[in-house]
Subunit: 208 residues, 2 copies
């Protein structure tokens, strides 16, 4: 690799790390090209030699957040033998803890919208999709005969439901919830959803 | 009422309506004092004689959105006799339809954050809380012996879960979901949650 490419790669990493710190401190609204450029010691315009645009920069930070979330979920799964239901509860609680511990970076994953008309790039979509395996696996254990496409829908719905409880709980938009109470609510609702889905599939046995 | 107070009240309504149109068209980010002032024909600074600040303006628009949501939920409840479970399904579907039909205004309800350190005013909190009665009532029918404080937690959790499914479904952040598929998912997950919560309370009969 040429010296100038090496230097560019190094600066690019510094830029992404600076953006990560800015988002962690102040959210997406705290991301200012000028401040990032000053922090990594380059001209304002030079930032866009390092990333295509703000969307790419935010997605690269998101990629690091997702990798850490992935690691947290792997850890939650690795602890001991658990039933698929209890595995789903653990994963939901680990998700809640990660969101609480990385609030602004986690928020940014969902708050970011691409500049009008631009699609989310494939690499970023595929990283997001990949995380669903954490939910998909225990669900496949619960519903071994259910087709993959339906399991994917169920995985997404379960995730979205837990995400909603975590989001509104942490935002304290409606009522302030202490984290222990939030974790208890999450465990209750995940178990309820699983029990309900099992009961439903018992009524339509072809689907289980 | 003096002529000048009358004029102020009229302008204030025009301002809130202009802000509502701006948010509906472009989201919270589309709200610019200068454009609103031009639209209602007053000086930029005069906007802050009409509302305390941007937070109040956004909350007043939110108040109108909540009132329309309330009306939509009332309509969903009034149609025919339904079991408490099916009532919860209807309410969740009406919520989904409202969110889909008023996407930016509905998003703004959750996206808006008060300027640092300022609490949400009581009147706005109480309007938000009031809407929970739509979920609370059928839940009280399902769990007549459960204490009010616990029913409130359950109502909030159910709402948050449905909100998560609606939000991620409509944002199409993860996978594009056609609205009919989203409605089917919502009906499934609401029924599953209710069945699961009933099964759980059957294990702890004091709580039902």
């Amino acid at each position: 690799m040429s010296k100038s490419l090496e230097r560019r790669d190094k600066l690019r990493v510094l830029l992404i790390e600076a953006a990560e710190r800015a988002i962690a401190a102040k959210g997406l609204a705290g991301l200012k090209t000028r401040e990032l450029a000053r922090e990594i010691g380059c001209a304002n315009g030079a930032v866009y030699n390092l990333v295509e645009d703000m969307d790419e920069l935010i997605l690269r930070v998101g990629s690091r957040t997702l990798a850490r979330l992935d690691a947290a979920l792997n850890l939650a799964e690795s602890s001991i033998d658990a039933s698929p239901t209890e595995m789903l509860v653990r994963i939901a609680l680990a998700y809640c803890d990660f969101a609480a511990g990385n609030h602004e970076l986690w928020r940014a994953l969902f708050e970011h919208r691409m500049t009008q008309g631009k699609p989310v790039p494939e690499w970023a979509l595929s990283e997001q999709m990949d995380l669903f395996r954490h939910i998909y696996r225990p669900l496949a254990g619960l519903f071994p005969k259910r087709p993959a496409a339906e399991l994917s829908v169920t995985a997404r719905t379960l995730f979205s439901a837990v995400h909603g409880v975590v989001t509104l709980g942490l935002e304290q938009k409606l009522i302030a919830v202490p984290i222990d109470a939030l974790r208890a609510e999450i465990a209750t609702i995940v178990r309820a959803m699983v029990v309900g889905l099992i009961a439903e599939s018992a009524r339509t046995p072809a689907m289980t």
